[in-house]
């Protein structure tokens, strides 16, 4: 339950404080725990910062541009230069703002994603806590971000910020359901909600076993992260900057950092739940984990560079009419397979994989035929109707 005591950083700090300096036990315990938290949080934020540079670079290559290339080799220090710029910017608070909530919102945005790190295993044996409800815990933490969005939108005292935050929260709440359903499928397959158990249960990566679940997770996650094609909250053409409109300086910087670190967190989740976490051959486990996370991050940048933004009503309709039924199909199929083969042999596992891919390839086109979302014909009918009303 508590691997903290087995952690080498923890035990080194603990012993050096307790034995060498002769401090009391609680001080050694506290400092040891602090050392672990420092390493985990700063390492995570560092990867988030690297991702801001990586995404700018990748997206610019997709658009035949060069991207940041002035600060440091290949522009890798660009993120630091940006942070310094933001630090020296004037801290503007609108006169109509609710000052306390306005200042607290960035903290409420960043804190949950750092708290969620507690249950993420970064390599074999290196995690802060292995609790038996880890998956649910991460979802609970990401739910708090919607509060931060509402706080930011309301406290800015700006119509567009308020509208942006309302849209964002409607979207976050809608996409939380398919996301949780996709995670439920994984929980059924692994028979546990602990991250370590889930990784150990994957004799074949769950990406192969549950392709539909992985797809639903990817789509719902990019909505939860406010990333294109779901970035209506920051739809520049409609809402200026959504709930971020009034933010400047380092407060904006914290929002920006939280946004990018959340993508890294999502990548870590995807690597754990669908790509067998740290496990693979030859290379050390931490390196494999990083490679998988950066693979996810590259796909995320790819999606950002490729897909155009969706309209808010289409986004909500897509969540409720398309993704939600599809996620139900996924959960029912996985539950039935788990009942049929509670402890699958390799042959049964491959049969399961074949069935699930079959379900995915029939359910996805079938659902798009049934739901008929935003097809040209329907959009045309809408236009005719509104003209008649006018």
């Amino acid at each position: 339950m508590s691997p903290l005591k087995d952690n080498s950083i923890f035990s080194w700090t603990y012993e050096s404080v307790a034995n060498t300096l002769g401090g009391p036990e609680w001080l050694a315990y506290g400092l040891g725990a602090m050392a672990v938290i420092m390493v985990v949080v700063n390492g995570f934020l560092l990867i988030g910062t690297i991702f801001t540079w990586m995404e700018r670079k990748v997206v610019s290559r997709f658009q035949s541009r060069v991207g940041p290339n002035r600060v440091g080799p290949f522009g890798i220090l660009q993120a630091i230069a940006d942070a310094v710029k933001l630090l020296f910017q004037e801290d503007i608070v609108p006169r109509r703002a609710d000052r306390l909530l306005f200042n607290a919102a960035p903290i409420v945005m960043l804190a949950p994603s750092l708290l969620a790190l507690a249950v993420i295993p970064f390599g074999s044996g290196s995690y802060v806590a292995d609790i038996n409800i880890a998956v649910l815990y991460v979802v609970g933490m990401s739910g708090i971000a919607s509060l931060a969005v509402l706080m930011a939108g309301y406290s800015s005292g700006n119509k567009l910020a308020l509208l942006g935050s309302m849209r964002a929260v409607a979207m976050l709440l809608s996409y939380e359901i398919p996301l949780v359903m996709a995670l439920l499928g994984i929980t059924i397959l692994a028979g546990s909600m602990s991250m370590v158990d889930i990784i150990e249960a994957q004799s074949v990566p769950f990406l192969l076993v549950s392709p539909l679940g992985a797809l639903i997770f990817l789509i719902a996650m990019s909505a939860e992260l406010n990333r294109p094609p779901f970035d209506v909250t920051e739809a520049e053409s409609e809402l200026v900057g959504g709930y971020l409109t009034e933010y400047s300086g380092m407060k904006f910087g914290v929002f920006y950092l939280a946004e990018f670190s959340n993508v890294v967190l999502a990548g870590a989740l995807f690597a754990i739940l669908f790509l067998d976490g740290w496990e693979w051959a030859v290379l050390p486990s931490h390196l494999w984990f990083l490679i998988k996370v950066f693979g996810f991050l590259f796909v995320a940048s790819w999606v950002r560079a490729t897909l155009p933004r969706m309209r808010i009503d289409h986004i909500l309709a897509f969540a409720w009419k398309y993704l939600f039924p599809l996620s139900l199909v996924n959960v029912v199929a996985l539950a039935m397979e788990t009942i049929a083969w509670p402890d699958p042999s390799p042959v049964q596992l491959w049969m399961m994989i074949a069935i699930n891919w079959g379900i995915a390839f029939t359910a996805i086109p079938l659902m798009s035929l049934v739901t008929n979302l935003g097809t040209p014909a329907r959009a045309g009918q809408r236009v005719v109707q509104t003209e008649e009303v006018n």
Partner: protein, 170 residues
């Protein structure tokens, strides 16, 4: 040392919970009141976690802080005069009466209940619950409490159908 830490954690969580709840009724800004409600919910989740009910703690966060509170805030934002309402109304004496009745009922049941401490070494069915709470809760829901579980499901289905019929395009 562990006990001292638990004591400290309990009291700080209790203070946060009660102060948050007090703030909900005292502050005049409805938006801030809703956020203070979240603070109170988080405090309760912390107390759940402190007594080894991690599943309840996370569900408390997920359902109350993530779901109920956001709905409350939505409702508060749609009402007019968010910042200056919460004024006195004619129903105030009645509200005071109801709250006092509720408080006395709660205090009465807490005082009257026979609280028994669990033994240090737990008997077999209980020990399993503390190791794997979600599985134990799931088994109880689908076994001993199947009927209430199904009734709750039917109730939710009725609510969904009601919501759909309200927003149906005509």
């Amino acid at each position: 040392m562990e006990n001292a830490f638990k004591e400290f954690a309990f009291w700080s969580l209790a203070v946060v919970t009660v102060l948050g709840a007090f703030g909900v009724v005292r502050t005049h800004n409805m938006f801030r009141a809703a956020l203070l409600l979240v603070v109170s919910f988080v405090g309760v989740a912390g107390i759940f976690a402190l007594v080894n009910a991690e599943f309840l703690a996370v569900v408390q966060l997920l359902v109350y802080a993530g779901g109920v509170a956001v709905l409350v805030i939505f409702a508060a934002m749609i009402t007019s005069n968010v910042t200056e309402s919460n004024s006195s109304t004619r129903a105030q004496p009645f509200a005071v009466l109801v709250s006092l009745l509720l408080l006395s009922a709660l205090v009465f049941s807490v005082v009257q209940a026979e609280w028994s401490l669990l033994p240090d070494v737990l008997p077999e069915p209980l020990a399993a619950v503390f190791v794997d709470t979600p599985a134990a809760i799931g088994r109880l829901l689908l076994d001993q409490f199947l009927l209430p579980f199904e009734i709750a499901g039917v109730l939710l289905l009725a609510a969904v159908i009601g919501a759909l019929s309200l927003v149906r395009e005509r």
